[in-house]
Every structure is written in C-alpha cells, then in structure tokens.
C-alpha cells in the first residue's frame, strides 16, 4: 500500500517508459533491436553516474550543478597525469584516481557551502565555471586522442556480445559499473544510518541537529560523493569516447538534474530514490537516443530535457497546490 503510494512516481515513470517504447517501436522496429537497447544502456552510464551524485546532494536539501565540470576536469587531469607518468597499470587505477580528483572538487563545494553557509546553487554555479575555466586555463585545451593504453582498452571491454541481428550487439562493462554503483547507493540510502541521516538533514536540518545528527558532516559526505561519482562519470566518458576532450560533458548537469527531479527528488530536500533517478535517466536517455530512429532531428533533444525538467518540478507542485487548496491557503497574488 504505502509502497504503492510512495513509489507512485517510479510506477508513473515505468509506465511512461513502456508507453514511449511501444510508440518508438511501432514507428521503427529498430528500436527493439538488442543493439539499440544495449546502446541506450551504454549512453546511460555517464549521465547516470552524474545523476546519482546529484541525487545525494538533493536529498540533503542542496544542489550541485558543478557535477559536469567536475567530471570533465577529473577526466582530463587524470588522463594528462597518466600520460605524463607513462602509466601502464590497470584501468581501475585510473578510475580511482579520477574519483579521487572528483572528490577533491566535491570537497571544495562542501567547504564553501558548509563553512561559509552559502546557498549551494550559487556556490556550484560559481564552481561550475571555475572548475571548467581552471581546466582550460591551467591544464589544457587540446583534445587528446592518444589515451593511456588501459583506458583505450577499456573502451572496447565488452561484458558479452549478442549476435542475433545484422550486427553484433555488445554489452559494455561500464553499464555493469553503473548498475553496481546504483545498487550500492540504494542500499546505503535505505539501510544505513548515514542514508537515514541524509534524508533527515534534507527534511528538517534543525530537527536532525537536535537528534544528534552531525549535520555538517552529512552534507560534506553528500558533496564529496557527488564529486567522486562525477569523477568516475568523467573517466567513463573519456574511455567510452576514446578521447579526452575538455569540451565534452558540458551542459550535461541539466540532463542529470532533469533526470533526478523527474525521478521524484524534491529540490526542497528529504525526498528522492535511486530507483526513481535510474528511471529518470533511462527515460531521458531513451528519448535522446531514439529521436533519430523516428525521424526527429537530434537538435530537439534539449527541448525534451527542458520539458522533462519542468514536468518533474510541476508534478509535485501541482499536488502541493491541491493540498494547499484543500487547506484553504491563499496563494500570494
């Protein structure tokens, strides 16, 4: 019962995804090919990791729009460092390094937000530009086509290959990484003290403080983890694209925000689930990568992201209004 009610957003999203799939499938049978579906999965990885990080921050009542800049900066810095030292070890080291660099960027956000008590939207708007600007000014502006050996190798690491259709459909390892991260995040949010504290801080930080929650520490972990996941998203993006491009990922923070909000997270904090976020990511990615199949120019993608974002905030707002009406509260004119 309650699962149904609290999960209504997830059910709604699932229904929309299935409905749209049927429409896409009817318009172009290519949609249901294994290759296309695996392709969607692959496209979900980068925006998905960004979204999960953003979800954590939103649950605590903050926002982090700098995740895209963190991702690209972490990716580029890591690549440059690995090339510099002529690294030949496993890709895992590169991934960990990118995560660590991302964590540092996250920490910068966390310190600015918690120490200076600044609104996180303004801080991360600032750092969004700062991180990217710093990257271009101090690290480099060149697109690097020669990646470290293990990184280019990762780009073709397929978990398995299905050869049913015309061309073989491949399931990329990075999709598994995203699934594992999502499962871990879902578990941590649902079933650890930390997860419960995240929701508590976002719901009512004064109440959380009075019940002994280390509010600042919880907020810091949210930003640092968002940075870490962004770093991971960055390195995945670099590997998947087989190039370290300082101009990539830009603007993806809006896609991620749309996905998380569409997934039921509240900008006011205290609400949001991993399942909802993953479904939001799936919907946005599916629409984005299927437009071509049904003959809509890819340029329309942005339009849909904007619509999704507004829809995501409008749904709970309309519900709120209905409740407020029932309570007779008069809106300001």
């Amino acid at each position: 019962m309650t699962w149904l009610r609290s999960g209504s957003r997830e059910l709604l999203l699932a229904a929309v995804i299935i409905g749209l799939s049927l429409i896409f499938g009817l318009l172009n049978s290519q949609f249901f090919s294994v290759a296309h579906l695996f392709g969607i999965g692959r496209s979900m990885v980068v925006i998905g990791l960004l979204s999960l990080g953003l979800l954590l921050v939103l649950i605590t009542g903050g926002i982090d729009v700098s995740v895209s800049a963190t991702a690209v900066a972490s990716m580029y810095i890591t690549t440059v460092v690995l090339l510099e030292v002529d690294f030949h070890g496993p890709f895992l080291v590169g991934a960990l390094l990118a995560g660590a660099v991302g964590a540092c960027f996250g920490l910068v956000n966390a310190v600015l937000v918690t120490r200076l008590r600044l609104p996180s939207l303004i801080v991360t708007l600032g750092t969004l530009t700062l991180f990217r600007g710093g990257l271009l000014a101090f690290v480099g502006t060149q697109r690097l086509r020669e990646l470290p050996a293990q990184m280019s190798e990762f780009s073709s690491s397929q978990l398995f290959t299905v050869t049913s259709g015309v061309r073989p459909a491949t399931f990329h390892v990075s999709v598994l990484v995203f699934i594992l991260v999502a499962v871990a995040a879902a578990w941590a949010l649902r079933s650890t003290s930390w997860g419960r504290s995240m929701y508590a801080v976002g719901d009512d930080d004064e109440a959380a403080k009075r019940l002994g929650v280390a509010v600042t520490r919880v907020r810091v972990t949210a930003f640092v983890l968002a940075g870490t996941l962004a770093g991971l998203a960055g390195i995945m993006s670099g590997a998947l694209n087989r190039a370290a491009d300082p101009y990539t990922i830009v603007g993806m923070e809006m896609d991620a925000l749309a996905a998380v909000i569409l997934g039921g997270a509240a900008v006011t904090g205290g609400r949001g689930t991993v399942l909802g976020t993953v479904l939001g990511v799936a919907l946005i990615t599916m629409v984005g990568s299927s437009l071509v199949l049904v003959g809509i120019p890819t340029a329309w993608r942005q339009l849909f992201v904007g619509l999704f974002l507004l829809l995501g905030v409008a749904l709970p707002a309309l519900r709120q209004r209905r409740i407020a009406r029932a309570r007779g509260i008069v809106e300001a004119a």
Binding site: D203, A207, L211, G212, A266, G328
Partner: protein, 505 residues
C-alpha cells in the same frame, strides 16, 4: 508521589543537576543563573509564563542551546559543553515544543530515527518497525506505521513526538508542553504512562501551561519567572493558586473586563456558515464594536484557521464574512481588518528594517510629505508617536526591529496593526515569548483599542490571558464552535476543562 521526597533527595544522585545556567540572546536575558535538580525516578514540574525561559532551559539540558555560563551533570557525571549527541548518550530524550519531527518520513521512520549512530551502521526495516510498534504500544497508541508524518493531524504528530521519547535507552525525558493538542482522555493516558515509567526509574521534566496537570503528576515543582527560579520544592507544598501567583510575581490583572453596552447595534463583522472542510465547519460569529471575543481551543482544533479565514488569509470552501453587512471583495487588502500573527520573526516584522518603517508599513499615508512621497522625518515622527503610546523601549525608532526584546517587538507589531485605525483586529497569541511586565502592558493596549471601538478577536492558548482580556469566549472543538460564554461567569479551571474536552474520540 507517595514516597517521602526528603529521604530520597539525601541519598540518590540527581538524574540532572543544573547549576548557575545563564543565557543571553542579544539584548534579551533568557536565563539569569538557573539551578534545577531532577531526582531520579521522579517527575519534575517546570512552570512559568510564556517567555519565562522554560523552553530555553529544556534546550540547554538537551544540548541544543549552549549556555553562556553554568554547569550540567547527568546522573552525577558533569558534562562540559553538552551537545545533542552527549545528551542523547546520557539517555536524554526530548519532546520539543515544535516537535522536531520529519514530515517526509513515515511514522515508523520518525519513531526510530537515531541521529547519533555511527554513519555506516546498517538499519533493518524489520527491526525498525518492531521498535516503532513497541513504542506505540507503551503509550497504547494506534497510529499507522507507514503513514507519512506530514499527512497526520497536529494531535497525532504530538503523540508521535511523545512516543519517540520512550525508547528503551531513555533515562531522562524532557517534555515541553506535550499536551497542547491533546484531549482529556489522551492527556489522562499520557499522565498515567509517565507515572508508570517514573516508577520504573525514568526521570521526567514536565512543562505545561495546565497547572492542574503539573500539580497532579509532579513530585517536585520549580517555578521560573523572567529567566530566574523564583521557587522550587516538593509538589506537596504547592497548589495551583500558589503556582500562578509565583508565576506572575503577584502581578494581578483586573480580570473580567466591563464591556460597554452595545444594545441593539448591528455587528461590525458577521461570519455565517464559514466552512473549510479540512479545518472548520459552519462557523457563525458576530463581532461588535468595542468587543473583545476570545477564541479558545486545542492546538489543531481549527481556531487559528478561523481567524485567518476572517481576515482573508485562508480561503474557505463555504460561508461568508460580512463587514458592516457587506461582503468585501478582498479582505486581505482592506486596512480596516488587521491580523497580528503569533510568529513575529517569520510572519510579522521586517527584522532588518527600522522600527519606524515597520510601524508605518500598513499606513504609509500618515507619513507623506510634500509631493505625496514618503518623508523620512515624518516616518520617524509617526514612529515616535507610537513608541510613546505603546511604550516601546528603544533609544531610537530608527534602530532595526531586530534590536528589540520579544515584548517590544510585539508592541511594534501591534502598533503596525493599529496604525491604520482598523475596525477589526484578529490577534493570534499576542504574548508568546513575552515577559510578564510587557504582557500586562500588551493586554492593556488591547483593551484600550477595544475601548476606542475596535472589535477584537483574540486567539490564545493561555486561559489566564483569555480571561483577563476578553468579554466573551467562544470555544472551538474539532473545527466547530461548541459554546460561547461571557468571561464574567467563567473560572480558569472551567475554561481549561471545556477546551480539553476536545472533539475527537
């Protein structure tokens, strides 16, 4: 209650010992050197008027507010710099006056939330539900575990806040006005649970406006006034009359105001069939020139919403409000109707603005100079007039409102509402967080406004306030007006009894 308090005092280590606690907020002295000894396994009644410092003291013991001076020991163990974590680890559990619950969480999640746990400790949903169920069982409550807290009524939320404190690890429970929204039956059940748990060794600090509750449950009583302890001792030494005279410091207000006759005059404001299905039903009220009508009811009974609907801040489903027999198109915009909120800080004053600017904000026409623009000197002039009339204590009306004490801020709020010369004023708990002296002054100001012809609707949680100020009192129970009586024929206890009947079963 039956044991000899003196014998226990000499042997047992106090559950809480507070010594010389002092706390100042800006210019306001909230506590001026308070001592409190909570004996283990007893109930300690803490009483004082609004703003006397009870809640501040509770928050200091809970570690939420840091005192400027003074020491606190739990079970004989001194704790320097109590913070919420150390208090919780010493077994302190609190029902805060504002409840401090999480609206987006379920009842079960609220009941079992523990903030001081190591961050990576796993939480089992099953264990959580079992603990929540047992907490509700202890209080013989039946609430839906999976309901979102924000969807519950005020009374249900208060019960959740109470249930949250009776976990297995609680040793000291601080209850700040735990019964404000509860009916007689619910209160009786709560008091018997408190008695049972204190017999099992739990120690309670019990704060309530309702002196009869305090007298019936407490083993010891401490009375505070304006931030200082004025009396403390075994409950046997106190009765309700003694406590109330200690609370007010002997300031007795002339109760039962003599209302000027209003024979046959049509009412200024007439409310008929006013209904807001989620809050109140079929409200009929008439306010006459110069009349002060009180609105009494439990927290959550709908009495505040009725007041808001009358001034147009809440839109009712049905019914109408007539002003001099006519319906007004927009009551919010009409300066002849004024509303004075209970929360000065967030709903009332512009804290950063000057006192004078706050006073004239509803009545700019009084401060216009040549060219029909605001004249700064006029603004100050008008501000000064009101400073004198309401005796606002400030060196200059050009200082920000935030520089004033609670009582003086309340006067500014009153000045703002009275400045346009309104015909109807709805007041919501006008003396919350105000010291005893200012309180009597504010009551006089309200009476004075009524004497000049203003019709006043006074919503208050304080029985004494209603009796001191009003001509008549209307009772709200579960969203319905059940009775209206002249104050002259009402005693305080009777008033409390009528209010506490509630409307719920």
């Amino acid at each position: 209650m039956t044991s000899d308090p003196a014998a226990v005092t000499s042997t047992a280590v106090p559950a809480v010992e507070v010594r010389g606690v002092r706390k100042t907020y800006g210019t306001v002295q909230a506590l001026v050197g308070v001592d409190l000894t909570l004996r283990p396994g007893t109930v300690h009644g803490l009483v004082g008027e609004n703003g006397s410092g009870k809640s501040t003291l509770t928050k200091i013991i809970a570690g939420v507010v840091t005192p400027d001076e003074g020491t606190i020991a739990f079970h004989g163990e001194p704790v320097d710099a109590v913070d919420p974590r150390s208090a919780i680890q010493h077994g302190v559990r609190v029902i805060f006056q504002d409840l401090a619950l999480f609206p987006n969480m379920t009842v079960a999640e609220n009941l079992t939330f523990e903030g001081e746990r190591p961050l990576l400790r796993p939480v089992s949903r099953r264990v959580m539900r079992r603990q929540a169920r047992s907490a509700l069982d202890t209080l013989e409550l039946d609430l839906p575990l999976d309901a979102r807290l924000g969807d519950l009524s005020t009374a249900e939320r208060q019960l959740v806040a109470i249930a949250r404190t009776v976990s297995s690890e609680a040793r000291i429970v601080l209850m700040d006005e735990p019964t404000a929204a509860l009916t007689h039956q619910e209160i009786a059940r709560l008091l018997s649970t408190v008695r049972r748990l204190s017999d099992q060794g739990l120690s309670f600090v019990f704060i309530s406006h309702k002196l009869r509750e305090v007298v019936s449950i407490a083993d010891d009583v401490t009375v505070i006034r304006d931030g200082a302890v004025v009396s403390s001792g075994p409950a046997a030494d106190y009765d309700q009359d003694r406590i109330s005279s200690l609370m007010t410091g002997g300031v007795v207000e002339n109760t039962h105001r003599q209302r000027p006759a209003r024979t046959g005059q049509p009412p200024v404001l007439e409310v008929s069939g006013l209904t807001l299905s989620s809050s109140f039903h079929d409200i009929d009220l008439a306010l006459h020139e110069g009349q002060i009508l009180g609105l009494a009811g439990l927290v959550g009974s709908g009495r505040i919403e009725i007041g808001l609907a009358i001034v147009g801040l809440v839109r009712p489903d049905r019914g109408e409000v007539r002003f001099h027999g006519r319906r007004l198109t927009d009551r919010r915009a009409d300066r002849r109707l004024q509303y004075v909120p209970d929360d000065r800080v967030t709903e009332g004053l512009y804290m950063d603005w000057s006192i004078a600017d706050n006073v004239i904000v509803n009545n700019l026409s009084d401060a216009l100079g040549r060219g029909r623009t605001l004249a700064p000197t006029k603004v100050v002039e008008v501000g000064d007039q009101w400073r004198e009339r309401l005796r606002i204590r400030t060196p200059s009306v050009q200082h920000p409102a935030a520089s004033l004490s609670g009582g003086n801020q309340q006067r500014v709020l009153l000045a703002r509402s009275l400045a346009p010369g309104p015909e109807v004023v709805v007041l919501n708990n006008p003396t919350v967080g105000v010291d005893v002296g200012s309180r009597a002054d504010i009551h006089n100001l309200i009476r004075d406004a009524a004497d000049h012809g203003t019709a006043i609707l006074l919503i208050s949680d304080e029985p004494a306030e209603l009796l001191a100020v009003c001509d008549e009192i209307a009772f709200v129970q579960d969203g319905r007006l059940t009775d209206q009586r002249p104050c002259a024929a009402l005693e305080e206890q009777e008033l409390i009894d009528i209010v506490g009947q509630g409307g719920r079963t």
